[in-house]
Structure formats: structure tokens, C-alpha cells
């Protein structure tokens, strides 16, 4: 369950970090010609980071406090500032990871939308109601896509009229088993689309099972559509006005990019990209032949992920946000309530860290002692009010009956140990995911990570402790405090296609891609793989990938003899293919440069 950090609302100017004020001058010399650069922008809970990366590594970096009431402005000024005095023609594209749609969902600031669902036997769909304007109409498909009951078109029309009269403009239509046969969803859209601005169909927002999750996913897509569209138009307009005409992409929760324009039809893909940004930011620094745990230590939470040979592990179903469980593809992210600003308290003589955060560290005028304050006492943190930190830790020390220094040591140690315990728990959860074939049950891969990659504000201090108390090989991601933005910049397109083929019906379909095709007899798994991969490549290009940059995997391939009356009548083939999440082709050069810069202590402005 992803828990989101609280947002700090504050208005402030753009600050260049790491640059003393005197160097905040305009550069008169433009950057050298002939170098391709990419902008990465990541909106975090507290700060928005913008970076410009290129063949020289990290060219420029900016950190701005996030003002949630004016996210649009933060994004423009970030983009504007990062491109100031740069030759725009040198910029390849920009990738944006924002919390715009995420915040709207978490804060429940969504417009009213409508839903029409058809279900059939099973759990009553009333249990999956997402909103007031949620209408169940008769109609049903079975698990193999056979029609059990035709949709009640009169009821559909009634529902649509009532929604329209209530001012609804966006509607989600979801049928159970629509991914096996989308005919009902399509028919319903046919009836209602003249009455609404946009209709989202279940089988288009995801090709995966789970009717309740598909309902939620269609609902969220409809709900965030107007916001995401306005954002897109506003960004485009502002950039056009400033003459900054570069292609824009968004970062998705699965660590992949999608062309901004295409994302208008799939606005749900813009949700919860934050955790993915930090994972992508660490890939370049992970070994491609090892299993690595990535730890992003934030203020309120530490977000964890796993890289296997440099490839991030995916979540089994999809994003979970607020009370919504979805099918929006996401990287596996395991969040624990332990961070730099977690509240430290003593109860019954025992020390407790988090899971809550009541404010920043006392060293920064916060109300309660935190692990950051412990770091101040231990002399590992600077640029804050050490006295205030000491006072806070002293109070804890008294309750424990130890010296202030000892209390600080214990707080920091416990925080680190608990983070490592959670990491081990995450690995254990991944290894106990159910499997459904004999081969996987007996010979399935169990992950045994040997490396830790740490990023986030206090990364170096924590990394030091992790090395001391565990067997992991620990390293810190260079420029760990803007690694998210770097990861955002360097991500490439990723997507997946699910193909069903029935050699008895002689039909193949990939409902999410709106693809149905008749088959010739003798269709095999190899044919299905080819067909699915072709669809995948087309999809990736549509979403803005460059054709040279596609690494594809078959993530699931199942083939079943279909037998009726003791005779084999055909094969039921299911195949899932993906463009593997990862970094763009040129990333190695850029990452190498960043590593060099980091070793040389270079701090670009």
C-alpha cells in the first residue's frame, strides 16, 4: 500500500541548490552544440526536482519546494528555468512525473463522473460502487466470452439520460469478462457517446482480469481525464509562448514513458509515478548481473523496490491508491512508515520510530524529535539548529534512562535496522508469490539480493550504517537527492500486450489494443508470440518509443488443450509480452559521466 507523504504548502522562488548565491548568474555562453540533452522533472511531496542530463552527465539541476495549490506553475517555472539560456534545439525531449492526478485522488478533489456496469453471475457489483452515478444494467458474458444475456439497452439509455441531466461529462463502461469479449462495452458506448464528452471502456484501460479493479481503473481514468487534459493544454500553451517547443512525455507508475498527447486517452497512466521515478533513477547504478534492493529514504516513508539484473520487479496487479485497487501497471513498491522525519517516541520504556510524521525535524523547527535530529546530535547532519535537535533527543534520552548521545545512536540504529527488516520482509513476500505450474513450484527462481542501493535526502548517512549492520553491499546513488528526476529523464517506453488465441473459434484477440483477428487452422504458440510482439511494437511506437530502443520479453505463455467430449478440439493460448522497463539506449554514456562528476565532486548549476 503506497502511503503518500504530506505536502508542504509554501510559496517560494526557484532555488538552485548547491550553488552559492553569488553564482546564480545568467550564463552568457550557450551549451556546446551537437549534444543531445533531456529534461527530467519529478514532483515530490516536499520538493520538485528538475534536471538537464546530457552527454556531459548532469548538466543542470534545480530544486523547488512543491506548492500543491500551484502545481501547474511549479512545472512551468521548473521547465522554464532549466532551459534558460540553453539552445532549445539541443534538447531532445522532456519527461514529466507529477503528482497532479495522484493528489487529486488522494485529496478526493475529483469531478463527478458516471459508471455503467454489466456483470452476470458472481459477486453483486453493487459492492464495487465507485460513486453516486453508478448504474448496473442487465447483461452478461461468461468466462470464455460467450454471451449469457444481452445488455438491456433501455436501461442503458435511462442511465445515460439521468447522468447527463446531472451534468456528468465523463463515463466509464465496464462489463465482467469484457476482456474476453468486448462487444457489450462497445455497444453501450455506441448508445451513449453522443451524450458525453468522453467514454472510457473497461477492456481498453486494461487487458487483465479483475472486474472490480477494472471498474476502479475506468473510474479513475474518467475522473482524472479533465484535470490531466487541462494540464496538458496549459503546459503546451505556456511552452509554445516561451518558444520552448520540445516533445513532452509523462512518466508512468511502471517506470515507462508515454507521449503526453497519447496520455490524454489514458490519463490514469499519470497516477503515482513518483515511486517509479526513484527506481528508474537507481537502475543506471545497479549491476546488470545482480539482485539489488533499492531504498528511497524520504521524510515520512522509505519506498523499496527490487532490481533483478537491473530490471525492476513489477507489482502483481497494479497501483493501489487511497481506497482504490487498480489494474494500472506499476513497478513493485513496498512502503514503510520509516523516514528521516518519522516521529520518535518512547512507550513503556521502548523506543518507537514512526509510522507517522508530525512535521520536519526539530532542527528545522519541527515539533517532535526525529531520526534526522539524531543525526544532528551524532554530528552527521549540518545546516540546521543543532541545539533544538539536542533538546528533542535529550527528552527521549531521559525517558530511556541513557545519555543524549546514546539515545541518538539508538534511534538511528533502530531506524536502520527496522528499514532492513522491512526490506527482508519485502523479499520474502516476493518469494512467496503463488505460482501455478509444476516447473515454477519446484524450480522457480527465488530472489536473494546481495546489494542495496540507497537514495533520498539522508542516503549517505544511512548507507554507512547499513554497511555496518548487514551483509549487503551498499552503495549510494550519485546525486541521490535528484536521482528521481534523473531517472525520469532517462526512462524509456514500456508497455504490455495480452493476447488470447482460441484455435477452435479460430480467433485471436488483444482487447486492450482493440484487436481481433480471424485465424487459420494450425495456429501455434510461436505464431501467437509473433502476433503479440508485433502488436507490442506498434503500441510502443504509438506511445512515443524510438524503434531502436525496444527490448521485449514474454512474461507469460500458457497453452492448453481444449477437450470436449474426450476429443481435443483446439488450443487455448494466452500470451503476455512487454517492453521491458528500463533506461533509454544512450543512458550508459550519461550515467558514466554522472558517476565521474560525482567522484570529482562536480556540482553543476
Amino acid at each position: 500500500m503506497i502511503r503518500l507523504t504530506t505536502m508542504i504548502i509554501s510559496v517560494s522562488n526557484v532555488i538552485d541548490t548547491h550553488c552559492p548565491a553569488s553564482r546564480r548568474i545568467r550564463r552568457n555562453d550557450p551549451i556546446d552544440q551537437g549534444q543531445t540533452m533531456i529534461i527530467g522533472l519529478d514532483v515530490g511531496g516536499t520538493h520538485t526536482d528538475v534536471v538537464l542530463v546530457g552527454e556531459n552527465g548532469l548538466e543542470r539541476r534545480i530544486k523547488v519546494p512543491t506548492d500543491t495549490s500551484a502545481l501547474f506553475d511549479a512545472v512551468f517555472s521548473g521547465l522554464e528555468h532549466i532551459t534558460r539560456d540553453i539552445d532549445i534545439s539541443q534538447i531532445s525531449h522532456a519527461v514529466l512525473s507529477t503528482t497532479l492526478t495522484t493528489n487529486a485522488i488522494v485529496q478526493d478533489k475529483l469531478p463527478a463522473v458516471g459508471m455503467i456496469v454489466t456483470s452476470g453471475p458472481g459477486i453483486d457489483p453493487e459492492n464495487f460502487r465507485t460513486c453516486e452515478h453508478y448504474y448496473r444494467v442487465a447483461g452478461a458474458m461468461d468466462h470464455s466470452g460467450r454471451e449469457i444475456l444481452k445488455p438491456d439497452e433501455k436501461a442503458v439509455e435511462d442511465a445515460a439520460s439521468r447522468m447527463r441531466d446531472s451534468g456528468i461529462e465523463y463515463v466509464g463502461v465496464v462489463g465482467k469478462f469484457s476482456i474476453r469479449n468486448p462487444a457489450h462495452e462497445k455497444r453501450i458506448r455506441e448508445i451513449i457517446s453522443p451524450m458525453f464528452e468522453k467514454v472510457f471502456l473497461g477492456h481498453n484501460v486494461s487487458g487483465n482480469f479483475s472486474f472490480p479493479r477494472r471498474i476502479t481503473t475506468a473510474f479513475l481514468n474518467a475522473s482524472v481525464y479533465p484535470l490531466h487534459k487541462r494540464f496538458f493544454e496549459a503546459v503546451r500553451q505556456s511552452l509554445d509562448k516561451k518558444g520552448i517547443q520540445i516533445p513532452i512525455y509523462i512518466l508512468k507508475a511502471d517506470g515507462g514513458t508515454m507521449d503526453f498527447e497519447t496520455s490524454i486517452d489514458f490519463p490514469g497512466q499519470s497516477i503515482l509515478s513518483g515511486p517509479a521515478a526513484s527506481v528508474m533513477g537507481s537502475i543506471g547504478f545497479a549491476a546488470d548481473d545482480e539482485e539489488t534492493i533499492v531504498l528511497d529514504i524520504g521524510g515520512t516513508t522509505t519506498d523499496m523496490a527490487v532490481l533483478i539484473n537491473g530490471v525492476p520487479v513489477l507489482a502483481p496487479y497494479g497501483i493501489e491508491i487511497a481506497e482504490h485497487k487498480t489494474l494500472i501497471r506499476a513497478l513493485h513498491s513496498y512502503s514503510v512508515g520509516l523516514g528521516g522525519d518519522s516521529t520518535v517516541r518512547v512507550e513503556h520504556g521502548h523506543l518507537f520510530i514512526g509510522p507517522d510524521r508530525t512535521g520536519p525535524a526539530m532542527a528545522y523547527d519541527g515539533p517532535e524529535p526525529t531520526p534526522t535530529d539524531a543525526l544532528f546530535v551524532l554530528g552527521k547532519a549540518q545546516n540546521g539548529d543543532r541545539e533544538k535537535a539536542e533538546k528533542g533527543i535529550e527528552a527521549i534520552a531521559q525517558l530511556l534512562g541513557v545519555s543524549t548521545a546514546e539515545a541518538a545512536r539508538r534511534i538511528f540504529d533502530q531506524t536502520c535496522r527496522e528499514i532492513l527488516d522491512s526490506a527482508r520482509q519485502m523479499v520474502s513476500l516476493i518469494n512467496s508469490r503463488p505460482v501455478y505450474t509444476v516447473r515454477e513450484a519446484l524450480h522457480g527462481h527465488q530472489i536473494k539480493p546481495t546489494r542495496l542501493l540507497v537514495l533520498g535526502g539522508p542516503a549517505p548517512m544511512f548507507a554507512e550504517n547499513f554497511t555496518a549492520v548487514s551483509d549487503y553491499q551498499v552503495s549510494v546513488v550519485p546525486h541521490w537527492d535528484v536521482a528521481n528526476a534523473v531517472g525520469t529523464a532517462l526512462s524509456r517506453t514500456t508497455c504490455e500486450v495480452t493476447l488470447f488465441a482460441d484455435t477452435y473459434k479460430l480467433e485471436a484477440s488483444a482487447p486492450e489494443e482493440m484487436f481481433i483477428q480471424a485465424l487459420k487452422p494450425g495456429f501455434t504458440m510461436a505464431d501467437a508470440t509473433e502476433m503479440a510482439t508485433e502488436l507490442l511494437e506498434k503500441k510502443a511506437l504509438r506511445e512515443g518509443a524510438s524503434s531502436g530502443d525496444l527490448v521485449t520479453d514474454v512474461t507469460e505463455a500458457l497453452e492448453f488443450n481444449m477437450v470436449r467430449d474426450f476429443r481435443m478440439i483446439g488450443k487455448n493460448i494466452r500470451i503476455k509480452v512487454q517492453v521491458r522497463p528500463g533506461l533509454i539506449g544512450q543512458y550508459e554514456k550519461i550515467i558514466a559521466q554522472i558517476k565521474k562528476q560525482s567522484r570529482n565532486g562536480d556540482h553543476p548549476c
Binding site: D124, F128, D142, F209, E323, P434, V438, M568
Partner: protein, 438 residues
């Protein structure tokens, strides 16, 4: 968010890469649409329904229950280790308190696997429920267990394993053996001399529908369970009694099975048979899981369901009432039956012929039970398959008295190897399993 009233565990192992043969009912495809239905319902997202990865059983887990000839690996494939492992996993989850109830939706099935195993029969090789139960007895000290076998076929394997065990109540309700494999499971099969009455069979006429099954439950099963007071209730939940099943002739339904589950309240259910893989299994299993979890299952209706068409006739109802009464009478009379069977008997003998339909051969068994007043009695089985192997299998029961233990070891150590290829020993009290080879 949907919440389960009872914390329910699920182990799902469809063995998508294993089959008896490409077109056999027990093939890769069998649970495919069931998984599709369960996934589409979003059952695993329900708070209080947890899925566990199927574990794998040890050889010892198998030896604790079966005498495998010549050994476990010869009569099992990898899939059997995992299928039984799935039942073991759910049993452990229940006993560890991770869940309150659990369902092992696994294949291949097991209730036709008997104490001595020479190969596969009735699509079964080893008995998943027995392996789980004996493991739980060994590891958690579980004592009294009731196995309610609602599969359409008589659970002859389970019956055989627990024939002489008074601490295990085995009740099987099934389509009458005169009309269906394995051809057994009649009223007069009530257990050995030291356990009579804890094996009870309820043969049902073809075309029995929901009403019939639920009558048996209410009139016979539940009252007997109340008196037996088991530590655990295990349901062998075979679903081949469905009105669409291609191999049988009963008229049960998804809602009926859910009702049965809701009333029986099994601690653990284990899938057995069921071969109507599109029209029955997806719906029955969703209904069963919802019922176990204490959730509403009233909307689980098969597209082909029609209450009127499935209703059973009055003669079926009458037959079932009579059969229920016979079962109750047997149960009430069990002590007397035991006394009568034990009178003046030191060694009780039985002859059995077991047909292995999957592998196509007959096994001949001669069983000798030492009738004991202190415990259920040590027993030995002389088992042979023509032109294959002949073995002597000695079973020292879990609560064996000292005398029976001594006798068991004498039989094992002192019997002349002569005619036997192997002599095997199950020492349940010490959890030791040994073999003497020629």
C-alpha cells in the same frame, strides 16, 4: 471494500503444465476457467481472503500414510508432491492461526488412493487429505478428525486408510456404487472391528439434486458430527456431482454446494473431482469460497441452471430418507457392532481386490488385524500384483499399545523375506518408516 466474515485461506495449484494425458479429464485445462472466474471476481482482493503458495510434501509425509510400492517416487510425479503440498500448506495455515478456514483448490486429486499404492487409480496417486491430516496430527497433536467426502464417487481410498481408525470419522456421500466407479461405498461398509461406525457410507440415487444433498447433511452428517466432536472437519470437496458433469449423473448446483459448505462449516476443504470445467467448476468454486468466507453467494448462478428441471422426484427423496435413517442407526449401534465383531476374535482377516483403472492391473490384498482391547490394533497387509511385486506392509497405529507395538516389530523384523520383494513398516507413534528389501 469487500470483507470476509471468516478469515479464509486459499491455495490454488492448477498444475498448468501437467496432465495424465493430453485429452484426459485430469489435464492442464481443468482449472483454467475456474482461475479466470476467481480472478475476475476479484476474490483475492477481498479483505480476509488470503492466497498462499502451495508447499511441497516430503517423502516422509507420504510414508506416514502410504505404503508405496516400490517407493514413493515411483508412484508419484512432481505434481503429486505439490498437490498434496497444497493441502498441507492450507492445513498448516489453519493450525498456525494465519486463517480460520481454508480451501486447497489443487490437482491432481487423491481420494481414490488407498493405504497401499502400486500406481494410479481413479485419477489419484496419493491421498492429499490423509497426508495433510497425518501431518497435522504429527506436528500439532490434532487428534479427532472428521472427513466428509462429498465427491460424486465413493472415497474408497480415504475409507481404506481410516478403516481401522476410531479417531477418524469418515462419511462419504456419493452416487450409488451400482451405477458408478469405484463400485463400492454401501451401507454395510462400516469399518473394522476396532473402529466400526466411524466409517459411514451414504449411497445416493442418480439424479439426486440440491434437496437430497442438503437433506443428507441435515439429517445424518451434522447430527453425527455433533456427537463425534472432531478437532477438525475436512471436506473432500469433489464437484463432479454437478448437473453438467460429463462423467456422472447427479444434479447438484453451485448454490447447493455453497449452502452445504455454509452449513457444514469445514475447517479445511480440498478439491477432489469435478470435470465440467466450463459450466460447473468456475461457479461451484466461487460459491464455495464465498460460503467459506461467510460472504453472500446468492448471485452465483450457472447460466444453465434451472431449479425446476433439476428437481428430484419423490422416490429419490424417499430413498434418501431411508438411507439416512440406516446411517444413523449404524452410528448409534457402533459400540455393539464393535463388540460383536471382536467377540472371540484375535486376528481379524480381510481379503480385498483393488483394481487400478489408470494403470490397468489388479492388486490382491490379504489383511490381518490384531484385535486389541487397548488400542485400534496393529495390522499387516500381504499385497501383490501379478508379475510385479509382492510386499508385506505392517502398520503400527498412532495410539498403539505396547503389545501391538511389539507385535508390529516382530512381524517386520522376523517375517521370512521368502515370498516378499519388500517388507515395509509404518511406526506411527515414533513417526518412523522402514523397509526391508530382498
Amino acid at each position: 471494500m469487500l470483507k470476509a466474515k471468516t478469515h479464509t485461506g486459499l491455495v490454488f495449484f492448477p498444475a498448468y503444465d501437467w496432465a495424465i494425458s493430453a485429452t484426459h479429464p485430469e489435464r492442464e485445462e481443468r482449472l483454467l476457467y475456474t482461475q479466470d472466474q476467481i480472478s475476475e471476481e476479484g476474490l483475492l482482493d477481498v479483505e480476509g481472503i488470503d492466497e498462499f503458495k502451495a508447499g511441497v510434501v516430503d517423502i516422509k509425509d507420504v510414508q506416514r500414510v502410504h505404503f508405496c510400492v516400490p517407493d514413493a517416487r515411483s508412484v508419484m510425479t512432481e505434481s503429486h508432491f505439490i498437490s498434496a503440498g497444497g493441502a498441507k500448506t492450507i492445513g498448516k495455515a489453519k493450525m498456525d492461526g494465519l486463517v480460520d478456514r481454508g480451501f486447497a483448490l489443487v490437482r491432481p486429486p487423491g481420494h481414490h488412493a488407498m493405504r497401499v499404492v502400486h500406481g494410479g487409480r481413479g485419477f489419484c496417486n496419493v491421498n492429499n487429505e490423509a497426508i495433510m491430516i497425518e501431518y497435522l496430527r504429527q506436528a500439532y497433536g490434532v487428534d479427532r478428525v472428521a472427513i466428509i467426502d462429498t465427491d460424486c464417487h465413493h472415497g474408497d481410498g480415504t475409507q481404506d486408510i481410516y478403516w481401522h481408525d476410531p479417531d477418524t470419522l469418515f462419511i462419504s456421500m456419493h452416487q450409488d456404487g451400482r451405477t458408478l466407479f469405484p463400485g463400492t461405498g454401501f451401507n454395510n461398509e462400516t469399518g473394522g472391528p476396532t473402529a466400526a461406525g466411524t466409517t459411514l457410507n451414504i449411497p445416493l440415487p442418480p439424479y439426486t439434486s440440491e434437496e437430497g444433498f442438503l437433506t443428507v447433511l441435515e439429517k445424518a452428517v451434522l447430527p453425527i458430527l455433533q456427537e463425534f466432536k472432531p478437532d477438525l472437519i475436512v471436506n473432500s470437496a469433489g464437484q463432479d456431482n454437478h448437473f453438467t458433469d460429463p462423467l456422472t449423473n447427479m444434479n447438484f448446483s453451485a448454490k447447493g454446494y455453497a449452502d452445504l459448505t455454509a452449513r457444514l462449516k469445514p475447517d479445511i476443504a480440498v478439491l477432489e473431482g469435478g470435470y465440467s470445467i466450463e459450466s460447473a467448476l468456475p461457479y461451484v468454486n466461487v460459491g464455495l469460497i464465498l460460503a467459506m468466507a461467510g460472504m453472500d453467494y446468492s448471485h452465483v448462478v450457472e447460466p444453465e441452471y434451472s431449479a425446476e428441471r433439476l428437481r428430484q422426484g419423490p422416490s429419490i427423496t424417499a430413498t434418501i430418507e431411508k438411507t439416512c435413517q440406516q446411517v444413523i442407526d449404524t452410528w448409534n449401534d457402533r459400540q455393539n457392532i464393535r463388540i460383536r465383531m471382536q467377540e472371540n476374535v484375535i486376528y481379524a482377516e480381510r481379503h480385498n481386490t483393488v483394481f487400478y483403472d489408470t494403470d490397468g492391473f489388479y492388486e490382491s490384498q490379504h489383511e490381518t488385524l490384531q484385535v486389541c482391547r487397548e488400542c485400534s490394533g496393529v495390522l499387516k497387509i500381504d499385497s501383490s500384483v501379478e508379475r510385479k511385486m509382492r510386499v508385506l506392509a505392517v502398520h503400527i497405529p498412532r495410539k498403539a499399545c505396547e503389545n501391538c507395538r511389539k507385535t508390529g516389530y516382530q512381524w517386520f523384523e522376523k517375517t521370512d523375506m521368502g515370498p516378499y520383494d519388500m517388507i515395509l513398516l509404518q511406526d506411527r507413534p515414533e513417526d518412523q518408516y522402514r523397509v526391508r528389501k530382498k
